[in-house]
Symmetry: C2
Subunit: 478 residues, 2 copies
Amino acid sequence: MEENKSILKQWILSAITNRSGKELKEIFETIPNIDIAEAIADVDDPKILLYIFRVVGSEYSAEFFAELSSEQQEAVINAFSDKELMELISDSYADDIVDTIEEMPANIVIRVLKACPKDLRSDVNRLLNYKENTAGSVMTTEYIEMKDSVTVKEAIETIREKGKDAETIYTIFVRDKSRTLVGTVELSDLIFSKDNEVLSEIMDKDFVCCNVNDDQEEVAKKFKRYDLTAMAVVNSENKIVGIITIDDVVDIMEQEVSEDIAHMAAITDMEDPYLKTPVYKLVLKCVPWILALMVLQVFTTMILSGFEGEISKFAILAVFTPLIMDAGGNSGGQTTTMIVRSLSLDEFSGKDYGKVVLKELRVAAIIGGIVSIFAFGWLMFEMSAGIVNTDSILTIINENGGDFNVYMCLIAALVGGTLFVTMIISRMVGCSLPFLAKLVKLDPAVMCGPITTTMVDVISLVTYFLLWTQIIGPQFGF
Amino acid sequence: MEENKSILKQWILSAITNRSGKELKEIFETIPNIDIAEAIADVDDPKILLYIFRVVGSEYSAEFFAELSSEQQEAVINAFSDKELMELISDSYADDIVDTIEEMPANIVIRVLKACPKDLRSDVNRLLNYKENTAGSVMTTEYIEMKDSVTVKEAIETIREKGKDAETIYTIFVRDKSRTLVGTVELSDLIFSKDNEVLSEIMDKDFVCCNVNDDQEEVAKKFKRYDLTAMAVVNSENKIVGIITIDDVVDIMEQEVSEDIAHMAAITDMEDPYLKTPVYKLVLKCVPWILALMVLQVFTTMILSGFEGEISKFAILAVFTPLIMDAGGNSGGQTTTMIVRSLSLDEFSGKDYGKVVLKELRVAAIIGGIVSIFAFGWLMFEMSAGIVNTDSILTIINENGGDFNVYMCLIAALVGGTLFVTMIISRMVGCSLPFLAKLVKLDPAVMCGPITTTMVDVISLVTYFLLWTQIIGPQFGF
């Protein structure tokens, strides 16, 4: 892969050095634009870039331009004459132009907008005004719309004439006299229909569309649910104002997933690729959560602090606290992750909370049983094998007498019993918090993991020390 | 949404009770199949289901059948006559048939295969034999392939004739005399070309395809990278054997993301929807990891055990261990999550490890500085405000004398200093483990989070106690 890239780069550069337009054209005919753009990603000499655009011609230039880095795009725009810029831009889609100029300095933005034909310029301006992450901000305005009274023959003729400027010709959007969207026709329906049939007869009336202000995540879910390749975006009067195509949706899905994953790990978003994110931004994404979670630790600190007397009398108690806290954290994390993912895939709604809790209770009881029995055996082994320092126990035997094996069993039972409670609590908290977040209209992914951990820490430590002071400790003569 | 569903259900059932075929047909014309299927998801009376299929006819039946639950599908197949079954199946795509029979008992599978026309049956059998998660297992065999010498006019005629059986007619796959795949033609290219042009003149030669044995994750990445809607699947001789379409890829992407997320939280996969997964399976997905991580805790147990003497002399030391361990775990988790996600989006390759480490080192130094200063202040506050029990310090002052404020500062400096080291180590470990996993060809997502936590726990505890025994402790007269 890496090797192919550098070979391709050599090939392109040699074609340019030899001024062999024919060879360069051949490269563009046989290799996808994105691979070419990636191979020359570090070339920013405007002369080389300009030569490429002059040679490859309008068939490839707009699409290739969209694949370049914003630095390269800026260099190209600066090097272009006004005429060249106008040609490039009239071949581009409005949404690609918006993506380009969003990252450009003001003088470039003005030059690009000036170079736009009037219609395109108003589309670009409109797209720039929609709120981020709405259907309006990701839609494009190059679509084919026809009246429902048009015949199949007329429709195909119109597509032949005007289709080249549209982002897709595979879905035709059909409107009635009042310009309301009433159906969609697939190009395949046209191909299979008779010339004199009318669109209103062959159109799908069970089409799905979205509103300009809908969240892009909802849009992506509809594409998935209904297996769409293109969807109309309508305004509040049900008039079509743009379309969204499946390739944009694939990007949206990826962006939404990255957001969810980041939130689960207590990171503020991950919008940009890691290597392109500056150090100070990475710090800002991570450090507030670390500090917030540290403040939340005040509860565990208070509990341990409250039982300091017990710890100093019998230090082996402190040895097992990390084991209990980590097991609870891992178990709660598992549950939270499953529930958050299921919620974001719409596998269940808030109504199903009862079902989930009942199921988790059964899962937790079984896991609690297995884990506590395993922990009992494992601790007996650790203490017998001398992995754990048993001086505290020996001190007690010296003072009060008693049987070493019985004391080991009591310690192992203390940890095992605490883990049983911890497993149940962690799964209950872990499955409830995401539902609670949804109820108060927060993103279930945000912080549920770390907050579960903190709550489970508190409850399991209290259980541990209560079990010690009330039941196990007295057996040791405390 | 829930309300709409129950209204729709009432509507469908009343149409069926009134034997109003017209009304039922109208429902199918205006409402997407998946919404209808969901509304009647709990209807399993074969009579009702059969009535629906008899009324709605071949236009909707195959697609509607694919949306039903496997219990409903089984009921329908059992109730169908052989003739009805054959009609349904000849309208279905091979990949949908495979999806259906994969979950059916043997007698149903045999009946379905018997009902398949010969060609379809061999396709289904072949698809059933590809390994799970390969391109072969998700592809379908209904595509349009043409020779490169065919004219545009002939091509459109062929599409009109044979296109109805194909999963897509928007991409036509072009082969040469030796049946090797040499290009693709979009239906739009045909529409925009002259009747007498030949496919070899207008086809895209820079098409992208995949091998039957490629992993489905790689296939999904290619779709995303090249903005495809359909892709040819070829065998080792570059002959086309099937195609994959974008709607299947959307499902693959979701499945792969669920897998990644599960692995990060130490859960064995999440193949089925949560509510459909039986309790024992949920236990098996979760409990092995909890036990494995508990065994890994042996290292922290040993360290704490080794410093038991220090803890029993000065119990306040045990109070701050959870704070240090959790901060390290959270910080390592943040890094691991970012790196795993970037790796799975192919944002960088193994070669970029050096760049990543250097960047992380700078991020970690800054975060370490901020966190340790904050922790110093926060601990001073906790101790002054009496949130933390300071009896251990007072005991020392009683025995050896000394200033309370100085001792508080020393404790806060101990924790702050440990956190500085912890932040750096956690980010170094967190960014290195995913690269290491990739190097030895393991999934970077598996266990990187929990293993990072365990490693960081060990290193930060050792740092904490070394700092105490070597530098801070002696100031207290230990």
